[in-house]
Symmetry: C2
Subunit: 418 residues, 2 copies
């Protein structure tokens, strides 16, 4: 197979399909989503059989337990995909929405209409459920998509692709609305992220190394987040109970997620009160604590943090802790080490809360809430295709709107420019 | 001078200044804008003297009349720059604006706060007024900027830079809020568009070749428009008077602008009525007409358009004309040849107007209005830094909001994720 030709063909077909999709009515798109859900339901046994092939190959190739876990399709996982499709079908359609339509002094009426981006390329690791999540969001937002999953999930993805194809056929959609790359050749990725004439945006989903590589090589804009080094700052005016609830939740609710807290900053005057209470709870959950010198002098089982710790997204039951003089040092530390994903302050002080919200330059900034809330569902986006730590186009959780753009519309009555 | 070191130094300083600028109050920013306006007023004679040096060198180097015209600073031009600064000062500040703050089922309150992008690099040709326009918009939107003007305008730009520096000093702003590249070495541009660690976005202003080169070489996102091949479609349900007004205005109001019509599409059944009337007006204004075979059979002084004509942004008193069977052929022609800048339909038909608005994928889509309205001032943005024909981030005229991003803010009361 000539990879370049193959990918160009996918691209050309996607672009043609995108034009049709951009005009498709909401009900028609929803019918396709439900038809895909029905196909998944009907083919459940096939999906699990095909997935077993990937699991056997994965084990033979020495995938670790976490990777095998992400690769596994269970009936519960398939149910979650089906529910996801039904949920995306129930979301309101962003396409065609007109906002801010108002009269200008010249007499013309100017507004903005939300439109699909066109063709979206999605590159992800071996988590078959991403295939359905991504396809659903792209379809609903009127975009065609080209999906390239991890090679370890090739059988699972092709089985899912068959269900998508069946759903599209059933709903009389162009087959190229959702295309899944059928080769595991890495050259396909290189082609996908540089086919400027066919692809409008790339969304990589996966670990930092995948995303770094794609961002570096892509000539097409990439919506991405690299990592989540999230901070919670407990101010000296914090309510102790809220501080403890939030700091425990932000670290221990789930460890392997990008919105988990990795560094806790504590104001000097409150540290002797709050840190021993917190340490007790972390100890009970076997969280390893790594602190600055002052922290270590307060907590006997704390080991000394190194410069590397402040720069690390642990994604594990490890927490670095630093005692700071106050909000200025906290914000400076965040400015230096944060990945600009999510930061929170715990305080009852009105002025400091306002300052933190304004001055911290991250995709989500919170007052008295756990960083774990940084999520498309929690924010009411309905679903998310990822979290962006970029500033252009989309920042923070990216839902249906993040996959659209705004064009200006002008309504006149024979108006000309004077 | 080591260009790389020099540019890195500008970049580092800009990034530091950006952090301060992002927190600066509106009144303070406005004071700086007015102080720059005052400095321009005081230094008017110097500006004109320095500009003369550029004009003399430009003539010696064989710049054509149009280029010399763009390079010339007149008292009227300086007045326009001063008025521009005052106008930007009067615009409302987008930074810090909070929208869509609403309660979620979990009890947290989620909204979005508008924030500056950071550091903006602007690359433009030899039009000194762009230096002030760009600096004003970046300052007001809380961004630091690095400006790189055409080498032919180096003396003028440095004189303007001195006024900006004086205004910033006067208003106690960091000097690095606006930095003007002082070397004409082209390597400076290469460095500016690849300094990812310091620069957040590049805005090129100028001809197509400049913008193409920068888009190709930049590793930083670029907000750009390449060209404006704009279409007007006169539908067979058009009001003839409106059609003529609009088609004449769109072509002849100004020729060298990106929102001028370059191709006129006319429905077959109305063509024999409308085209001769239109041709008369174009003839009076010495507009050269190039048409399809059918057009040429209706208009004796029309020459045959070639395939190249449909692909050309004339920026001149030349118009290509095509007779189409109806809206489908019109939209298909636009889909094939438009640069996705601005297209207009002239019709009294409700359904076709709605279809055109929805189906034409351009940054501005109009009904019964001249394409010349595609402009930041006309749209009420107050000022514009350019027009984007990209779909990501900003589309159409880019004003203050286009130089900002939205971060999520979350307000809680000790809320944790369940």
């Amino acid at each position: 197979m000539n990879i370049e030709n193959y990918m160009q063909t996918l691209g050309r077909r996607a672009k043609e399909a995108a034009r049709i999709l951009s005009q498709t009515e909401t009900n028609h798109k929803n019918r396709a989503l439900i038809a895909i859900a029905n196909a998944l339901q009907d083919k459940q046994a096939d999906l699990i059989d095909e997935n077993k092939k990937d699991l056997i190959a994965g084990k033979a190739n020495g995938l670790d337990d976490a990777a095998l876990d992400r690769l596994t399709l269970t009936p519960k996982g398939i149910r979650a995909m089906i529910d996801g499709l039904i949920q995306v079908a129930s979301l309101s359609d962003p396409v065609g929405e007109i906002t801010d339509l108002s009269y200008r002094p010249s007499g013309i009426q100017v507004g903005q209409m939300r439109v699909p981006l066109g063709v979206i390329g999605i590159i992800y690791e071996s988590r078959p459920n991403v295939t359905i999540d991504a396809a659903a969001l792209c379809l609903k937002s009127g975009n065609a998509c080209i999906l390239r999953g991890g090679s370890e999930a090739i059988h699972s993805n092709q089985a899912i692709a068959a269900c998508i194809a069946e759903g599209l056929r059933e709903a009389e959609f162009p087959a190229a609305a959702v295309q899944i790359v059928e080769t595991t050749d890495r050259a396909a990725v290189g082609e996908l992220i540089t086919m400027k004439e066919f692809v409008d945006v790339i969304v990589p989903r996966g670990g930092k190394s995948l995303i770094e590589r794609i961002s570096k090589e892509a000539t097409i804009p990439v919506i991405k987040h690299l990592d989540g080094i999230c901070h919670v700052y407990i101010d000296d005016k914090a309510d102790i109970n809220k501080a403890i609830r939030i700091a425990v939740n932000a670290k221990t609710h789930r460890y392997g997620v990008c919105n988990a807290m990795e560094t806790l900053l504590v104001a000097e005057s409150i540290a002797p009160t709050v840190l021993p209470l917190l340490a007790e709870q972390y100890r009970a959950k076997e969280v390893e604590l790594r602190g600055c010198a002052k922290t270590c002098s307060l907590l006997i089982d704390c080991i000394r943090a190194t410069e590397t710790d402040w720069q690390t997204e642990y994604l594990a039951p490890i927490l670095s802790i630093k005692i700071v003089s106050g909000i200025d040092e906290a914000i400076n530390h965040i400015h230096q080490y944060s990945s600009q994903h999510t930061e929170a302050i715990v305080t009852e002080d009105y002025t400091l809360a306002r300052r933190f919200l304004r001055e911290v330059d991250s995709s989500s900034v919170m007052v008295n809430a756990s960083t774990r809330f940084a999520d498309g569902f929690e924010y009411g986006l309905g679903a998310e295709i990822g979290i962006s730590t970029d500033k252009l186009h989309a920042r923070g959780p990216v839902g249906l709107k993040g996959l659209t753009s705004l064009k200006y519309i002008v309504l006149g009555d024979g108006h000309i420019r004077q």
